[in-house]
Symmetry: C2
C-alpha cells in the first residue's frame, strides 16, 4: 500500500481542500492519503474555528484516510519549523510522496530554486541584510531578495504564501534525508488570503471564516463552498458549544495575562525578545479588543502573523525552554482519526513506523504532549466555562475518530 | 485638632457605617474622622462592589474627613496582618483614638481578654493544637480555644467576627507601642454575615450586596438602608461602567490562569502551600463558575475566606516574596480623599506624619505601591475591556477626591 502525505490546517475543510486531496491521490497513485494537521492553534497564530476533532471528521469524510496532529511546538511556528515537524511525521509514518498545493504548480522549478539558493546562500544573506536596512520586515526582505536574485530565470515566486511553504517542505525533505518524493498541484482559483468568494464552488478558508463571523444576516451562505459534511459539522459545533473560536474570544484572557505578569515573566515566553514585553504590556490596558491591541503593537519589524504567534504563546504560557528544544523532528505521532482504509495502512506499516503512535493520552506522558494538552485546554476556554468543561474532556476521552 | 481613626471597607457605605462614624466622633470627642479603607480587593478575598474612588466619595459625603488606602499587602490578609497595616497607618497620621464597631461594645473586656491570653499563651497554643486535631480549621480552632479558656469570666466572645478584628487592633496597638486609645461601639442590629434585612434602616453590607446582585426585579430596594449619596453613586457606577464587581466576573480569568500556569508557578503565589496547587489546577477545568470551583476545592482545613484570598492572590499574581516582607507596618500613606476639614487636619499634622503621604502616583514608585496599581488594573478587568480602560485610568489620573 502506498501513501501520499498532505500538510494541512482545514480551517475549515472546503471544496478546494477536497480538490487537493483528489489531486494528491491522482498525482501520486497512492492508495491512502495521510494528513498532518495543526491542532487547535494554527500556523498564523490563530485559534482554529472549531476543535481539531471536528476538523478531523471533516477530513475523513472527504477523502483523507489518516489524520495525525502536528504538535503545537511545530504548528505555531514560522514556515521553516512548521515544515520540519510536518515532514518528519510523514516520513515516520512511511509516506512515499508528499503533495502540496502551490501557486506555481511546477515541482521542477521548486527544485531548481532550491539548488540555486543553495549555491548562492551568501549572496542571498547579503541581499536580505540590505533589504532589512530599508526598514522592511524579515519575511518581506527574504521574499524581495529571492525575487531580486531569481529575475529572468524560471524560478518559483517565493513571495506567494503557498510557494514559500512548499519550498520549505522540500528543503526539510532534503535536510532529513527523506525518501519521500515531493509533488505539487496548482491551487485552484482562490488566493490564500483572498477575502472574497472567487468562483461558484471554490473559496479561500479566509473568505469562508469571514462569512461565518459576519453578523450580517444576509451574508453569502458558505454552503456552496464546502462539502455537505463540513457544513453540517460546523452547524453541529455552533449548536453544541455556542459558537466558533476566534481571537476576540481570547482577548480578555490575553489582556489579563499581559497585565498580571511582570516584564521578566513575559520575557520567558517564546519569541518575546528585544523589549517587546514592555510594548505589549503598555498597549494591553488601553486596548478594548484584540484588533485594537494588534494595531497598537504592530511595527514594520514585527509582522501581524509573527505578533499573533507571540500572542498565542503568551496565552498558552509557552516558554522559551519548552519551545526551543527538539525542533528538528517530531517525537511522537498523535493519531486523531482514520478511515477503514487508513487503519489497514497503519496496521501494515506498524513495524516500520519510527515514532511512538499515540492513540490513548493516558498511556503517554511526554512533556511535549503535555504542552499540547494544555494548549487544548486553553483553546477550550474560548467559548465560556460551560463549553470549556465539555470541550477539554474531548482531549482526554476522545479515542481516535474511526470512520468505516 | 484631634482625630479618631476607623478601619473600614465600605462595601458599600450604609446607614450602619454612618452610625459608626457618628458614634466614633462622639465617643472620642475628635474633630475629624480618618478612615483606613481596603482598596479594590477586600479582607475576605473579594473584589469590592465598586472601585475605591466611589467608596471614598461615599465616605466623605457621610461624615468621614480623610480616606487613606490600606495597601493590598495588608488588606487581603488574615485579621492579624490586616490590623497591623491599618493601625500603623492611623498611628502615622497622628490619630488620638481608634474606634471600632464590635459585638461586645465594651473596651474593658477586650483589654482583660488580651491580658488573660498573654498570660496563658502556652495553654492557648496547646488548646489550638488539640482542637486542630479534631479536624477543624485554624480559625475555628482558635475561636474554640478562646471560648474554652474564657468560660465563666467576663471576656470578649472571640467567635464573633468584629470582636476578633477589634482584638487584633488592640493587640497591634500594643505591639507597635502606639499612643492611640482604643474605643469600641456596639454594632447596631445587623450581624456581619446576616443576609436578610434586619430593621427599618440598618442592614448588613452582605444583605445589601445580595439585593444588588439579585436578578429578581422585585427584590427589596436597598434605598432605605444606605445614605442617598451612596444610592446615587451606586446607580452612577452601574450606568458608567456597566455593573458591579463580583467574583463570578473574574472566574474566566482565574480559571484561565490556573490552567495555563505550571504547578511550580502556582507555588510561587502567596499562601499556596502543601500541594494546594494541584488541587486548584485539578478543579479548574471542570468548574463552570466560581461558586462551583470553590465548592470543589474547599476542605475543613481551608476555610472559604482563606481560599478566596488565595484566589485573589492568584488573580493578581501576588508572589510570596512580594507579600511576605514589610508586613509589620505600612511604608506609605496613599491619600484617596479628604473633606475641607480633613485637609486642614492634614496640613496641621504635616510635620508629624511619619510616612510619605502619596497623593500623586507619578511622584512615588515603590514596589509595594506598584503592586497596588497592578491589583487595581486587574480589578478593572471585571467589567469588560471597554470599562477596564476607563477604570484603570482612574488609578493614575484621579487626584485625591476633595469635597468642600
Amino acid at each position: 500500500m502506498k501513501a501520499v502525505g498532505v500538510i494541512v490546517e482545514y480551517n475549515p475543510f472546503h471544496n478546494g481542500h477536497a480538490y487537493h486531496v483528489q489531486s494528491a491521490k491522482e498525482a501520486s497513485g497512492a492508495d491512502v492519503v495521510v494528513a498532518v494537521m495543526s491542532g487547535n492553534f494554527l500556523q498564523r497564530g490563530e485559534p482554529a474555528l472549531v476543535s481539531k476533532w471536528y476538523r478531523t471528521k471533516m477530513a475523513l469524510l472527504n477523502g483523507v484516510d489518516v489524520v495525525i496532529e502536528l504538535p503545537y511546538q511545530f504548528a505555531v511556528q514560522k514556515a521553516e519549523t512548521f515544515a520540519n515537524g510536518a515532514v518528519s511525521i510523514l516520513d515516520a509514518v512511511g509516506c512515499h510522496s508528499l503533495c502540496f498545493g502551490s501557486e506555481s504548480g511546477d515541482i521542477l522549478s521548486f527544485k531548481k530554486t532550491i539548488k540555486f539558493i543553495e549555491r548562492n546562500q551568501q549572496q542571498l544573506d547579503d541581499n536580505i541584510q540590505k533589504n532589512i536596512k530599508t526598514g522592511v520586515s524579515y519575511p518581506k526582505a527574504l521574499s524581495l531578495s529571492y525575487q531580486e536574485m531569481s529575475s529572468g530565470e524560471e524560478f518559483v515566486n517565493l513571495a506567494k504564501p503557498n510557494n514559500i511553504l512548499g519550498y520549505h517542505y522540500i528543503k526539510s525533505l532534503l535536510e532529513q534525508n527523506s525518501h519521500i518524493e515531493p509533488l505539487t498541484v496548482q491551487r485552484k482559483n482562490a488566493d490564500y488570503h483572498d477575502e472574497h468568494f472567487a468562483t461558484e464552488t471554490i473559496a479561500s478558508a479566509t473568505s469562508i471564516r469571514k462569512a461565518l463571523f459576519s453578523n450580517n444576516e444576509d451574508h453569502p451562505s458558505i454552503e456552496q463552498y464546502v462539502p455537505e459534511t463540513t457544513y453540517q459539522l460546523l452547524k453541529d459545533y455552533q449548536f453544541d458549544f455556542g459558537g466558533f473560536h476566534r481571537w476576540e474570544n481570547y482577548w480578555p484572557l490575553l489582556q489579563f495575562r499581559l497585565i498580571q505578569s511582570s516584564p521578566n515573566e513575559l520575557r520567558e515566553i517564546y519569541e518575546v525578545e528585544e523589549g517587546l514585553e514592555h510594548r505589549l504590556k503598555g498597549a494591553a490596558i488601553t486596548s478594548i479588543s484584540f484588533q485594537d491591541f494588534m494595531q497598537q503593537v504592530k511595527t514594520k519589524r514585527y509582522t501581524w502573523t509573527r505578533l499573533q504567534r507571540i500572542c498565542v504563546h503568551i496565552l498558552t504560557n509557552s516558554k522559551k525552554d519548552e519551545m526551543k528544544t527538539g525542533l528538528e523532528k517530531a517525537s511522537y505521532l498523535r493519531l486523531l482519526g482514520m478511515t477503514q482504509k487508513g487503519k489497514e495502512y497503519l496496521n501494515k506499516q506498524k513495524s516500520h513506523v519510527s515514532l511512538p503512535l499515540v492513540s490513548k493520552l493516558s498511556a503517554f506522558k511526554q512533556p511535549v504532549i503535555m504542552h499540547d494538552i494544555k494548549a487544548s485546554q486553553i483553546y477550550s476556554l474560548g467559548l465560556g466555562s460551560a463549553s470549556a468543561a465539555r470541550l477539554s474532556q474531548l482531549e482526554y476521552k476522545q479515542p481516535p475518530i474511526y470512520i468505516k
